[in-house]
Symmetry: C2
Subunit: 264 residues, 2 copies
């Protein structure tokens, strides 16, 4: 069994409160907070008060709560968050300048992708990606890369459960997905052909740490039909390798680089 939370009441509830916030709900009233967290009002009132006094949450003049700057600061210390973003950004910008297309940088968290950075091309296909947002592993360019190199347990989890379909082109057949992942591993890049939206195609490549473990992925997202995947893959792959190299050399704050492996 790996599911059990193992969290005491206090912390557990405090974290439930943090979880209540989301992209669609960045500021919440106390009552909403309690409702969304599934906790009694007075409990939320007390805990939220403590969180505010530290700066994890903030209250606007109307009394509504939002995530505090202080929490953002701490969050920005996450090696797989801002740390990664900072090191990769120059290369992502190069990609952006050269292609004028959407560039994405993402890591895997559990059975989902989390987008760490996104540079939107001016006249590129609109992509509904939010920095800090999550998405299914099996459909996007970055997702396919991360899934292909994920521990087998994760792959099986994803393949085993029903795969969400976004377009007629979304690969939902387990066998087909397995083949796709194998291709990603042998080719060194992924292609998501209109799997998320009818008009977009993305090409992703793996970013590795000093040990060769895949820790992140980059991708270019282009309008379907305008560019061939084969034209993009060398570009994406070489950028991914450049970023990988940048990660190696920049590992200054520790004696040895170790691959981050989130557990559940």
């Amino acid at each position: 069994m790996v599911k059990r939370a193992a969290t005491g009441p206090v912390l557990g509830r405090a974290l439930l409160i943090l979880e209540a916030f989301g992209p669609r709900h960045t500021t919440l009233t106390l009552t909403d907070l309690a409702r969304r967290a599934g906790l009694p009002l007075s409990t939320v009132h007390r805990l939220a008060g403590e969180l505010v006094s530290w700066g994890a949450l903030e209250r606007d003049p109307g009394g509504r709560y939002s995530v505090g700057l202080r929490l953002w600061e701490v969050g920005s210390l996450a090696p797989r968050g801002l740390g990664l973003r900072e090191r990769a950004l120059p290369y992502l910008e190069d990609l952006s300048q050269v292609t004028h297309e959407n560039v994405q940088l993402a890591v895997r968290e559990g059975a989902e992708v989390v987008f760490v950075e996104r540079i939107a091309g001016r006249r590129a296909v609109p992509v509904h990606t939010r920095v800090g947002g999550r998405f299914a592993l099996s459909a996007t360019g970055v997702g396919l890369v991360l899934l292909a190199h994920a521990p087998v347990a994760v792959q099986e989890e994803v393949i085993g459960s029903a795969i969400e379909r976004f377009t007629p082109h979304t690969v939902t057949d387990p066998a087909a997905l397995r083949r796709l992942l194998a291709d990603v591993r042998t080719n060194g890049f992924s292609v998501s052909d209109r799997q998320v939206t009818e008009d977009a195609l993305s090409v992703g490549a793996p970013i590795r740490d000093a040990h060769g473990t895949v820790v992140a992925a980059v991708s270019l997202v282009v309008r379907y039909g305008t560019v061939s995947p084969h034209a993009l893959s060398p570009l994406v792959r070489s950028s991914a390798r450049a970023i990988s190299r940048a990660l190696d050399t920049a590992g200054s704050d520790s004696t040895k680089q170790a691959p981050p492996e989130p557990l559940r």
Copy 2:
């Protein structure tokens, strides 16, 4: 006296643990964590375990702790963090493209500036600014703007306590600082003339919300002597106003209406 922590033991300690991380200490061993947080080992072990199980912290194979991606995700929901950054970014990039100098975006937290975004010009003066990092209010371009428009209590706090000196040009005299702040308010922009380093000068301007309250500041940082402040101020000011406008339209509902959240 400002305000007592008002935090129960559990949460308080958990937050102390989070505080133990910093730019120079992104990954810590359990013992370090305990030492830096000033807590007994077993306590930290227990609490950190809970935090890990939720994803607020992560452990690498070596058992060392770092800030978890999950916390970064939640942090990215902070309106004054990523929210602000996202809306301002296009304008910051324009500034960067036009001038090829360093562009900074910051907000005030207590008696310090917190940098929310920084775009480094290729061949611009090196600036030691880190996104998510803090700095004294009284010296930088952004800091002067934020201080000039801060509540009087904050201004007095800063002016009252000893002002840190970075260069011979740093303004540390209370009266002089007061005059400087008054200038900032009347001129609508600030100039930090070699106050942080001998070779840098920065010009900052205020960003306001729908109510006219100053909520953030932008600045350009250039090498001293290359450009006159007067040449920069119109540019910085107009960018600041553009960003202010972008904040208004983007759904800053005061206390009136139900939040019409724009999705994409």
